[in-house]
């Protein structure tokens, strides 16, 4: 099946123009070159690391906020308008702001990734908490658990399976946003390497990066899917 993709690719490259496209073989060669001199791994590590850290920050905040909003309908009602308004601010709109506040570098990208992953995760966690069996919550009331204990001992285990679904979405979002930030502003990572290749009229290297970003995204998604299935299976066995 992938052969077909290759075929399409090669045909387009066969009709290649001057400095816009390059044949696949040249891209592969450029890719090998980048892999050899280490720039490939460095940039990939930067992008993935920042995406993961941003996801961690955004996810942790979203988890706390989502549990609070999910447990207390009143808080959810009160926060409704605020979350609805802030949620729709496109994450890329914050690139200039983050640039202003943090300058270039890890922190800026981190902030944007965290913001972008925070909202969808918040909604998903909140929805997950709502669907926790009400009887479990009643039990916790009867046992006189504190809010803190209730969140840790009852709610977290109950929503763990759903959390993984949310996490998978978050990983996808984080990766996309990280690459976008690098393309638009941040002079580090895979996105920037690709922009530089384009600006220095090196189509082979650019296509190599494009392909590599695709491979990385695919691999990360596939890995998450497998992990989710494994966790789901184990939880199913436990229950």
């Amino acid at each position: 099946m992938l052969l077909l993709a290759f075929e399409l690719y090669a045909r387009r490259a066969a009709a290649l123009g001057s400095d816009a496209l390059a044949p696949v073989s040249a891209a592969v060669k450029a890719f090998a070159g980048a892999a050899m001199d280490g720039s490939l791994w460095q940039a990939t590590a930067f992008t993935l690391g920042t995406a993961a850290l941003g996801l961690l920050v955004g996810g942790a905040l979203a988890l706390a906020g989502g549990i609070a909003l999910g447990l207390s309908p009143r808080a959810a009602r009160m926060g409704f308008m605020t979350t609805e308004l802030l949620r729709t601010v496109p994450s890329v709109a914050l690139i200039p702001l983050a640039m202003l506040m943090f300058g270039f570098g890890v922190r800026m990208e981190l902030a944007i990734v965290a913001f972008a992953t925070f909202w969808p995760l918040l909604l998903l966690v909140q929805a997950a908490v709502r669907q926790v069996e009400p009887r479990l919550l009643e039990v916790s009331h009867v046992l006189g658990l504190s809010v803190h204990e209730r969140a840790l001992k009852i709610v977290l285990p109950a929503i763990a399976a759903r959390l993984f679904v949310a996490l998978r979405l978050g990983v996808a979002v984080a990766l996309v946003v990280a690459v976008t930030v690098e393309i638009a502003a941040n002079p580090h990572g895979m996105g920037y390497a690709m922009m530089i290749a384009q600006q220095s009229f090196d189509p082979a290297l650019m296509l190599a990066w494009l392909g590599w970003i695709g491979v990385v995204g695919y691999a990360v998604n596939a890995g998450m899917l497998r992990m989710q299935q494994r966790v789901a299976r184990r939880m199913g066995a436990a229950a």
Binding site: M1, L2, F80, E84, P90, A93, I95, L97, L100, M206
Partner: protein, 258 residues
């Protein structure tokens, strides 16, 4: 997310007002440097000047907003049409599905903005380029939703269609597409969000006039109030488009609920 009950609006509006008040206090009280966080008044003044409310400004913000919204909508429309058309082509035949699915799965996680450099070197720095990338990036959710919707048509419905000797086109239009409609609408909603994001990124990189370019320039010139005005506008665009589509979705799917 469901809208809260009537009494909830007051509370949520209050929280929002409290947040704005906090913003006001933080910026006026000098807790945070004004370079990063302009006062709400300054942001409002930038908005008013940009939209020429008072007659003192030039109204550039209005023009930029129009550009960005137009780009987003055009790209989104193109993406929706292409997505549904291609989705039908792929989804209608099992063979095509088996052949193309792996490729689609491979391209799907690719960030739309990653295609920008490629598009720049093919189309050059033109409005067409940004439009192409917006359409390309926003097409995937629609396409995948269409394929998915067509693939999950009940086998019994397909059998019934065969008994009725419906042609393939009739099957798609009378059974397949209506069945896929909820999926497609959800896909278009996602596509609209992506379209806005890609439009903004495209404007930033390809320096096409629009809000994306405007906020980038504002940040580089340390005009924080203009920057915030742009962010507020983008948020409003996102909010409005999302709300409109949700409304349209409810309308269009009314026949599904008894």
């Amino acid at each position: 997310m469901k809208a809260p009950a009537r009494g909830g609006w007051l509370g949520s509006a209050l929280v929002l007002a409290a947040l704005v008040a906090l913003w006001w206090a933080a910026s006026n009280g000098g807790w945070v440097s004004r370079v990063f966080l302009p006062t709400p008044q300054a942001t409002w003044a930038s908005l008013a000047e940009g939209f020429n409310f008072t007659g003192s400004g030039h109204g550039e913000l209005a023009a930029w907003t129009r550009d960005t919204v137009a780009r987003m909508l055009q790209g989104w429309l193109l993406a929706s049409l292409l997505g549904v058309a291609l989705g039908v082509l792929v989804g209608a035949s099992a063979a095509a599905r088996a052949w193309l699915q792996p490729m689609l799965e491979f391209i799907r996680p690719l960030p739309a903005s990653a295609v920008l450099p490629l598009a720049i070197s093919i189309f050059g720095l033109s409005p067409r380029m940004v439009l192409a990338v917006v359409a390309f990036g926003a097409m995937w959710p629609v396409l995948l939703a269409t394929v998915h919707g067509l693939a999950t048509v009940d086998a019994r419905l397909a059998e019934a269609a065969r008994c009725l000797q419906l042609s393939r086109a009739a099957f798609i239009f009378k059974i397949g597409l209506p069945h896929a409609l909820p999926d497609i609408l959800a896909g278009t909603r996602l596509a609209l969000t992506i379209a806005l994001i890609v439009a903004v990124v495209g404007e930033m990189i390809a320096s096409q006039g629009g809000l994306g370019q405007a906020i980038l320039l504002a940040a580089r010139a340390f005009r924080a109030s203009d920057l915030f005005a742009g962010i507020v506008l983008l948020g409003l665009i996102g909010f409005a488009s999302n709300a409109l589509l949700a409304l349209a979705e409810q309308r269009l799917l009314r026949w599904q609920r008894p």
